[in-house]
Symmetry: C2
Subunit: 324 residues, 2 copies
């Protein structure tokens, strides 16, 4: 990196820190495209991160996550905090559309300069969604947003990876879901720091709370610390209590970035590891896809059954590693 490139990266970083949304959006696109200049800007911005509170919100499709997030935005805005939202939609790999209730939120917060909402979708087979999420969180953090909310549909490994980047993970569910959806919940339950039973005015809310308590008992570590909060997000009922439960969870962690006597807090270390892993995998994925594009002869050989995929994959791995 030349010193003039360094200076350019610093200047861009300063523009973004000054609140220039358009420059921030361009940086996010450039990061997705893997441009080295964008990474240089991130190195500059990173020095100004670590101050935002990063909150993850996930849950069953149909549980009303977007409404809960909307109510939390409102709560934090009332408290004078600036809020950034990363709405992650890993379910629409082809159309690249944003399905989470952005439009509704946009209407309510569109004119509020204290709220910034960015939607992310996986794009075809490129992967890297978790990495992009981390990048956007870092940008919003550096821009001075006090709270950054990562919202995602909670149903797969992608989502677990995404939410592992948050300091506090909120999992939203509702009464009366079918068995299959209940079972799905078991997977995301294990990452929950705070549980929300939304639409708790519905029949079956008591039973859902009892089920969650029973599931938590099976979970083991730290389960006793997981609070269960009832909300009716459409009316705002229970949202204050949810925000306080989130605060209590946060307070139980070491302060963000703090180094204790035994080194950094485990959760900060885990987040660092998750971020690093996503960056490394993203880079390796790009290299693998480039190699695969360059070695279509191997794809042909496997398709024509003149070689087996295991032998062809060995050669591709060697070629990927050799790439600059």
């Amino acid at each position: 990196m030349t010193s003039s490139a360094d200076a350019a990266a610093r200047a861009t970083a300063e523009t973004i820190r000054g609140g220039d949304i358009r420059t921030a959006a361009r940086l996010m696109r450039d990061l997705d495209d893997g441009r080295p200049a964008a990474v240089a800007v991130m190195r500059e911005l990173y020095r100004h991160t670590g101050r935002a509170f990063v909150l993850g919100v996930t849950g069953n499709p149909g549980a009303g996550k977007s409404t809960v997030v909307d109510a939390l935005i409102h709560f934090y805005r009332q408290a004078g905090k600036r809020v950034g939202v990363v709405a992650v939609d890993p379910t629409s790999p082809f159309s690249g559309g944003a399905i989470l209730g952005d439009r509704i939120r946009m209407q309510r917060h569109a004119t509020d300069p204290g709220v910034f909402i960015r939607s992310l979708a996986t794009r075809g087979h490129l992967g890297g969604l978790s990495r992009s999420t981390g990048d956007v969180v870092a940008v919003l953090d550096a821009m001075g947003y006090d709270v950054v909310i990562i919202e995602t549909v909670g149903v797969g490994q992608d989502e677990v990876d995404v939410v592992s980047q948050a300091e506090t993970a909120v999992v939203v569910t509702v009464p009366g879901l079918g068995d299959e959806i209940q079972a799905i919940k078991a997977g995301i339950l294990e990452i929950a720091d705070v549980l929300v039973v939304n639409k708790s005015d519905r029949e079956g809310a008591d039973r859902t709370v009892r089920d969650l308590v029973a599931m938590l008992e099976l979970r083991g570590h730290n389960a006793a610390e997981v609070e269960i909060v009832r909300t009716v997000a459409t009316t705002g009922k229970g949202i204050d209590e949810l925000a306080h439960a989130i605060d209590r969870h946060r307070a139980r962690q070491a302060p963000s970035g703090a180094v204790t006597g035994e080194g950094v807090a485990p959760r900060i270390r885990r987040r660092a590891q998750a971020t690093l892993r996503e960056l490394v995998l993203d880079e390796l994925r790009r290299a693998a896809d480039a190699t695969l594009a360059a070695r279509q002869d191997l794809v042909d050989a496997v398709a024509q059954r003149t070689t087996d995929p295991y032998t062809a994959a060995d050669e591709l791995v060697r070629a990927t590693r050799a790439r600059a």
Copy 2:
């Protein structure tokens, strides 16, 4: 590979081809653990693959996929075919449990030696689910199962990757889902070769069919060829028609493994590419995780903010590539 190791791999492959379920199950575990000896067995087995019809079934949680798959198993068994099933559950990364309706199917098909069901779950952060699916499909294919069904909850990139390994992709939906779930459908719709409206005795089935037709019109390529079939899988209604729609789709493709005048059929090439890519990414992921485990000093440095994750990731990528 020594010739005695070669001979051992051949012997194991023959045992598996002879129908030894226990040896097959051990091979699948060894593949997941990344044992080179298991890969040698796969190379042997691969020569005997390419005969099974590989069918993917995915769809919304709660759409009744498991019941549809159960009915299809019954249909193919009546036709004298042996059926293998890979039930992929990417939703329970921690517990490793199988949530798809295995238990129900097990009861019905448990005593039928013509049916083999294997459940797969992601295991923590190791990834590689798509790769494992491809391995299991290849093993079942080599064992002589006529039809191999890949069943997965259809909600994320993982599932799209998994289903891309099938020759024909069936997407199951139901009338009366909420808006968010409808939107999720848009993502998996784009990979559908045959669409199923299950529980079609419910109110709203006509509207769901109309919605699907409208969505297909937006899709573009080959949309006209996508048949929409109404089923009530619990009673078996519409299952024959579904099986015939699947057959028609299959017939429109080039025969499995066939080489035409212009080379192999595009779909066979795509499957080869998907399989190769999964094998390569799985290998790179393993290497990255090993590097990350060996370089916890870099995780500490990021956690303590003495370096930024972008610089640390560069170093990890270099170290991963250097690994043998």
